[in-house]
């Protein structure tokens, strides 16, 4: 028996046929209802074909029958982990089209909310991808700290996840009197908690072996596929919208665009961890300097955009999110197109995962931080 096994191990005689494995639509590591048609030979991935549309809800078509303030409320159902950035993108687009200058206070509040939302999103990404790689403890650590941010959101605008806080012309309510105090308390607390995250996973040798040098995306490919956000920056593609096309209060502050060079799963992981530190720096610069003033400008009851085409991009937690509005001068848009970062990021997966093992496919998907309703819209 031992001789037979030895023969099997030492010779290449055993060849398996290629076979197809359906990952999803109901699968815990796809973070939603994505289906990956995977062609395997043994454990080696030969081809990955993502099938989307299992959560398609036709938001772009729906917007054609809605007024502009109503569209805002649909956008946070797309990328629900970057709900405020999505709201802000539509609001900025409408404001730019009408050439409305919002008060300084609004810009500061929006930027602080952006960064808090980015922190919350990265925490959830950290715990979900930790869970994908087999570290269930990460799940409990990440969601424990995330609840603190959600409490801050809830105090100001009443919602935990789908904020609906931005409206064209400003924000819906003024910030809660405790807002600044609570945010500062959270940052002091989270600065102590974040090294725990590193200790738990980033420094873990098992984790490093599963991610280092795996799933490499080169800079050229990142640009060719349009990969943006932390995934693109990990490949050395400088694509931070906050830096290159600053909006809201980003021109007033100093922050680094975190960059990586190697483009493997571990770099993507490390970059998001670094971004959490940077987000806290940004919030600390802004939180004490929120200027006094109105929290919104008075807009007309019925908002009508002038005829033309308008585009606005923002940096969500996953990359560049764009809103393209074509208006024919009526109260409803003629056509709306959303450029979602997840869509471009997902379709690199065939290029990256080819030749790696199926367990690496899960690690690659985890470090790309996919949100499926953002891809399907």
């Amino acid at each position: 028996m031992a001789a037979i096994i030895e023969k099997i191990i030492t010779t290449d005689e055993i060849k398996t046929d290629e076979y197809l494995v359906n990952i999803g639509p109901q699968h815990p590591s796809t973070h939603g209802v994505l289906r990956l048609l995977t062609k395997l030979e043994g454990e080696i991935v030969h081809n990955v074909e993502p099938h989307i549309g299992y959560i398609h809800s036709g938001i772009e078509k729906m917007t054609e029958a809605l007024s502009y303030p109503q569209i805002v409320h649909l956008t946070d159902r797309m990328d629900y982990l970057s709900a405020h950035m999505n709201n802000e993108a539509v609001c900025l687009c409408v404001e730019n089209a009408l050439q409305v200058e919002v008060p300084e206070r609004v810009k500061y509040i929006r930027t602080i909310f952006d960064e808090l939302q980015r922190l919350a999103s990265h925490q959830l990404w950290w715990c979900a991808s930790g869970m994908d790689l087999g570290a269930l403890t990460a799940f409990f650590y990440g969601l424990r700290d995330r609840e603190d941010i959600l409490d801050i959101f809830e105090e100001t605008c009443g919602a935990r996840l789908t904020l609906n806080y931005s409206v064209p012309g400003g924000v819906m309510f003024d910030i809660h009197p405790n807002f600044q105090k609570n945010v500062k308390a959270f940052i002091t607390k989270f600065r102590k908690k974040l090294p725990e995250y590193d200790k738990l996973l980033t420094d873990n040798i098992i984790f490093q072996n599963r991610t280092k040098g795996i799933g490499i995306l080169s800079k050229e490919d990142a640009i060719a596929y349009g990969v943006t956000g932390p995934s693109g920056r990990a490949s050395g593609f400088s694509c931070d919208v906050r830096k290159h096309h600053p909006y809201s209060a980003y021109p007033y502050i100093k922050f680094d665009e975190k960059m990586g060079t190697e483009g493997d799963s571990f770099t993507r992981w490390k970059l998001r961890m670094d971004e959490m530190w940077e987000s806290m720096n940004i919030i600390e610069q802004l939180i004490d300097n929120i200027p006094e003033g109105d929290f919104a400008v008075k807009m007309k009851g019925v908002i009508k955009l002038p005829e033309g085409e308008f585009y606005q991009r923002v940096e969500t937690a996953r990359g560049e999110f764009g809103v393209y509005i074509v208006s024919d001068g009526k109260k409803n848009p003629y056509r709306v197109k959303f450029r979602s970062p997840g869509f471009s990021n997902l379709f690199t997966i065939n290029h990256i995962a080819k030749g790696w093992k199926i367990a690496d496919l899960v690690a690659i998907m985890a470090t790309f931080d996919l949100v499926i309703p953002d891809i399907d819209r």
């Binding site: 639509p25 109901q26 699968h27 815990p28 939603g32 209802v33 549309g53 299992y54 959560i55 398609h56 809800s57 036709g58 938001i59 078509k61 729906m62 029958a65 809605l66 409320h73 649909l74 159902r77 629900y80 982990l81 959830l124 715990c127 979900a128 799940f139 409990f140 969601l143 424990r144 995330r146 609840e147 959600l150 935990r160 996840l161 789908t162 499926i372 309703p373």
Partner: protein, 178 residues
């Protein structure tokens, strides 16, 4: 003995403990015993479609901790699960998949429709061409939880309501009476 009439026997869901010399005896109905066990170990399927799935994760995590009610073991395969939480909208491409998942769960099985999308289509009720207007068009639903998304407390309340519902089930009573 504590029970004197049939009517009184039906009323007694709770076990009766009687002490005798050398030990105690618990008297209860078989239904009550089975339902007690079932209602405290309902395993949900890890199935999430939209934002409500994040709140479902929050319920499973540290602060809200659904393990307190016996719901903690989320299973990735329907064959090991007892319950589906439909957390998010279901569209026409997903509906057959959901039906298949439901059919694969072994009886007894329960369904919670979480959030406005699963209850009625929610924000996608008007103008959307692809969303099923309520998951109960596809599979039978036991508990509806409104909200967009519902707070974790609302989902915990739904869990408690589901436990109440399970405890009222009659599994053996009719067979014995025949």
């Amino acid at each position: 003995m504590g029970i004197t009439s049939k009517k009184e026997f039906e009323k007694n869901d709770f076990p009766i403990l009687e002490s005798y010399e050398g030990g105690s005896i618990i008297l209860t109905q078989l239904d009550a015993l089975v339902n007690w066990a079932r209602s405290n170990s309902v395993w949900p399927l890890t199935f999430g479609t939209r934002c409500c799935a994040i709140e479902f994760m929050a319920v499973g995590a540290s602060r809200h901790d659904m393990a307190r009610f016996g719901y903690e073991v989320a299973r990735a395969t329907p064959r090991q699960a007892d319950m589906i939480i439909i957390s998010g909208s279901i569209n026409y491409k997903m509906a057959p998949v959901l039906r298949r998942l439901y059919d694969q769960i072994a009886d007894p099985k329960y369904v919670i429709a979480m959030g406005a999308c699963a209850v009625s289509g929610g924000p996608f009720y008007y103008n959307s061409y692809s969303i099923v207007k309520g998951a109960d068009h596809v599979i039978p639903v036991d508990i509806y939880v409104p909200g967009c998304p519902p707070r974790p407390e609302a989902l915990l309340y739904a869990f408690l309501q589901l436990q109440k519902k399970i405890k009222r089930e009659k599994n053996f009573k009719n067979k014995i009476q025949k």
